[in-house]
Amino acid sequence: MSRDNIILEVKHLTVGYSQKKPVVKDVSFLLKKGECLAIFGKLGSGKTTIAMAILGFIAPIYGMVLLNSINILKIRGRKRREIRRRIQPIFQDPFLSLHPMKRIKTVLEDSIGRESGKSVKRYLNMVGLDASYMDRLPSQLSGGELQRVCIAKALCTNPEVLILDEPFTAQDHVTKVKLAVLLRDLKNKYNLSYLLITHDIFTVSFLSDRVLLLDQGKITETMTAGEFREKYIAEL
């Protein structure tokens, strides 16, 4: 594999809440530019812990997370904040990701920095929402619309990697399909890279290019999306 194409590299990541019992054990993988890599596993297998460690919310016991060959776990201060903007998370429950008292315009402006309302409109349009959403509060939006706002919020920082942690679990099937199509189109249009973390067979089958199977904190198998579909589609 050509290393020029690699955007995120996770090396021997070991994470746990105690040194003796790590939840994630020696996990290593590569994410290529423009690729959607899925980490698929049962509830409690350690998927979200990997995401939290990459995002810097949990300090790993051991291991490295390299973004464009820079170990982002070692960087501190302003540089760390800058580099963090290039990896954006999208979580399961959009209600918990947005400030309940802030209007959508303010939420997006906070992420963009000092830019005008025109940019806010552009980001809303990118996720299929119009300018009428700018003055609304999160409580006035449906779950699917809120998740779109979260995607727009993530895009505002011009990220290179999106970490999608169970992005559709709280959504009904129709909304899930619409959001999956949106994410697929955004990936293709802007050459984004996704680390998709989910236990949902449909989401993995639809969005991913490559799949890592995680069981009890260890990667047990790596397969292509085609191989995954062949193996799991009957379980849907």
Partner: protein
């Protein structure tokens, strides 16, 4: 028509004083030892129907129609029951499991104690029954769950434990409100097996409210499709999935086909909830809309085991 254990006839729920219709003229049934699933998007009125069966809807709602619970040859109308009678019904004849089960458990009492509170007998008998219930819902190590607090359970364990609570009084009907939300595929498979066990061994009838099309396909015998409070189609699972009549049902089932989705460009359907026309509730989102659809509400076209609410059906 099959022998329904629970039957809803023209159930209409309206929010007062604005007279906002939440559920309109819903008629369907849950067969003896069968599963009836209601499929629909979030906010389409599924949970409202489910809660109305147990008389759990908040005040300020106008509820009309009939909810008939069959007992032998006679039937009781749940909507005409007094609070005391409803109290006797809840949990004992009709039980419910909720989407977020932990919210309905006592957070400061261990799971085993909560189960023991619900069963009868001496303390030793209660203990035995509680463990049996935990085994019924396929906990491999029931004593481990017995000694846990609700917050210590995972999503799948909480859903199974709430099912054990619901089954404690041996109900005839189980209302399952979004039981698969947040569960992984193995937990869903296990839940389906538990439901099948209960249907076979105890003759349980299940009214499943879900947006999980795959789960409904896996366990249901009858399927109803609801959109914005209106039941658009009802029939046997086989007919609904193999030959859907209503355009919305067709789209919903198309959305489960990966091959179809892979070939889709930006032609994804967009549902318009906010603009209600005088006619069909789905007319503004339907690609087959005719002038008639915007003027009149389509009636229910019924065959022996099938109902569809669409003018297209009148034209064959």
């Amino acid at each position: 028509m099959p022998n329904y254990k629970l039957e809803l006839k023209n159930l209409t729920v309206t929010a007062l004083p604005a007279k906002k219709i939440l559920v309109k003229n819903v008629s369907l049934g849950v067969a003896e030892e069968g599963v009836t699933a209601i499929l629909g998007q979030s906010g389409s009125g599924k949970t409202t129907i489910c809660l109305s069966v147990l008389g759990l809807l908040p005040q300020g709602l106008d509820i009309t129609g009939e909810i008939l619970l069959r007992r032998g040859k006679s039937s009781l109308d749940i909507l005409r029951m007094k609070e005391g009678e409803l109290h006797e019904l809840r949990g004992k004849k009709v039980a419910i499991t909720f989407q977020e089960p932990r919210r309905y458990m006592n957070p400061i009492i261990k799971c085993g104690e909560q189960l023991m509170d619900l069963v009868d007998g001496s303390r030793k008998e209660k203990l035995q029954k509680a463990i049996e219930l935990l085994e019924t819902v396929r906990f491999e190590r029931p004593m481990v769950i017995f000694n846990k607090y609700p917050f210590e359970l995972s999503g799948g364990q909480a859903q199974k434990f709430s099912l054990a609570l619901a089954l404690s009084k041996k109900p005839a009907i189980l209302l399952a409100d979004e039981p698969t939300t947040g569960l992984d595929y193995e937990s869903k498979k296990e839940l389906a097996m538990i439901y099948n066990d209960q249907i076979e061994k105890n003759g349980l009838s299940i009214f499943l409210v879900t947006h999980d099309v795959y789960f409904a396909h896996r366990i249901a015998d009858f399927v109803g499709v609801i959109f914005n409070g209106y039941l658009l189609e009802f029939g046997s699972k086989k007919e609904i999935f193999s030959d859907p009549f209503h355009p919305y049902t067709k789209q919903l089932i198309e959305a489960t086909s990966l091959d179809r989705l892979f070939s889709m460009g930006n032609e994804l359907w967009d549902y318009n909830f906010s603009l209600r026309s005088d006619g069909c509730i789905f007319s503004r989102s339907c690609k087959y809309s005719m002038p008639e659809c915007f003027k009149n509400e389509p009636p229910e076209y019924r065959t022996e085991e099938r109902m569809v609410r669409c003018f297209l059906f009148s034209r064959g």
